[in-house]
Amino acid sequence: MSKKNTEEIEYVSKGKRVDGRKVDEIRPISIKAGVLPNADGSAYIEWGQNKIIVGVYGPKEALPKHIADPYKAVIRFQYGMAAFSVPERKAPRPGRREIEISKVCGEALERAVFLEKFPNTMIEIQAQVLDSNAGSRVAALTAAAVALADAGIPMRGLVSGCAIGRAGGHLIADLNKTEEDAPDAVDLAFAAISNSKEIVLMQMDGRVTEKEFKELMELGLKSAEKVHEFQKKALIEKYKNPENQGDKK
């Protein structure tokens, strides 16, 4: 639980935010696909100060056996944070926050993956946050989608995430830590499958009117599209390299 800012900050002044961005501008994003030699698929994302690495294994035999589904693959998503990745050291064991994030992010990806093609298997996704500053769950989810594609797992589309919200009365995309701690802060973790505009993740904290909520969804879909471009770029970059054009194994 973070403490709200008490000092008076002008969150948007002359169209510019505290870090100089426009209201709908997202922080710099760079994604690299195929960064872990052992994993079937992987991705590394830098999004603002967030640094997250994701590894995917599978589809492989579902273990323990009782989790196996005879009709589809099971997704296991594990979101974790390195002890040193937050201002106050975090115990490495997952807490309630990590358990919830893992659950909803895994579910967000389920809609995208053609799970029914791989009955009785599981797909394991591990996302580890190595450095953070607001928006790490959507960054992890965004990188996970790239890692799944890198693993060659067929999908309806890439899941693209972005946090949207409000600070100082302004609706903004991709909040940074200062904005998240605004006295009137609203933080909406959002993700969609860009091509079909299906919303697969939506978790909100903070008070909004119905009008603001609708505008936030609009901003979320627009931001997800921007993020989608970075994901596509990462995959194209990887397969441009002739070494990566054959079968992995």
Partner: protein, 260 residues
């Protein structure tokens, strides 16, 4: 017989009925079941409520305890919310440490209450930087007939509204004496929706919940502000479907608030 297969058959049935505008229990898509609240169920609790929603049966209790404030908020008390999915409540619930389902409901109910600012945290301060009240909201789900999110959330605000603050004297709690009622500033209400194929239903019953593709929970207060929301499970929502949920949530919350 394979449980999964049974639910696939049931889903086919439910969907074919939805196509004819019918739900299993004859409700309209936007119709909430009757909710009943029984107050002060547990005498040991500072406030408590048992909520029946259909056959979903939950009991919520509020306890106040002494705590040291967090260093960055020396004048504020704290809130903690926990939901126990008792294994007696449904065959799919298992005994043992909380599973992700229990963690999720605990956190979603917590956010609905916390973000509404219905509890004035400053009013929970006893000695700045030293002693504050910690408000513990604990819920037990006794029987599951769908939509435990709304039942637990309703029980939480109902018990908060009746909660008394223990007497605090000479650095200690005086047993069985109270200094007054807990100050509650607004009444957040959770409203939950299920998406089954392309149908969006309010207040899913157990069968609907077992076959749903996605859920949407949203908390709102009497000033028509939304406090928190959560989309969960493997399906997705379209923008217009969420808009339908938001409009309906405000209406249903208004009805439910009358029970408080």
């Amino acid at each position: 017989m394979n449980e999964e297969l049974l639910w696939t058959l049931r889903k086919n049935k439910i969907v074919s009925m939805l196509k004819e505008n019918k739900r299993l229990d004859d409700r309209a898509f936007d119709e909430f079941r009757q909710a009943k609240i029984q107050l002060e169920f547990s005498k040991c609790a500072e406030g408590s409520a048992r909520v029946l929603l259909g056959k979903t049966d939950v009991i919520v209790g509020v306890k106040l305890g002494l705590a040291e404030p967090y260093a960055d908020s020396p004048t504020e008390g704290s809130i903690s919310c926990n939901v126990e999915l008792l294994s007696m409540a449904d065959a799919s619930f298992e005994a043992g440490p909380p599973r992700p389902e229990a963690v999720e409901i605990s956190r979603v109910v917590d956010r609905g209450i916390r973000e509404s600012h219905c509890i004035d945290l400053e009013s929970l301060c006893l000695v700045e930087g030293e002693k504050v009240w910690s408000v513990f909201i604990d819920a037990n789900v006794l029987n599951l007939d769908g939509n435990m999110y709304d039942a637990v959330s309703l029980g939480a605000i109902a018990s908060l509204l009746t909660a008394k603050v223990p007497k605090f004297e000479d650095g200690k709690i005086v047993k069985e004496e109270f200094s007054g009622k807990l100050k509650i500033l607004n009444k957040p209400i959770m409203t939950s929706f299920a998406k089954i194929n392309d149908f969006v239903l309010v207040d899913p019953n157990l069968a609907e919940e077992k076959v749903l593709d996605a859920r949407f929970h949203v908390s709102s207060s009497e000033d028509n502000m939304f406090n928190a929301c959560q989309k969960a499970d493997a399906g997705s929502f379209k923008q217009n479907e969420i808009e339908f949920c938001l409009e309906n949530a405000l209406k249903k919350a208004k009805d439910l608030r009358k029970l408080l």
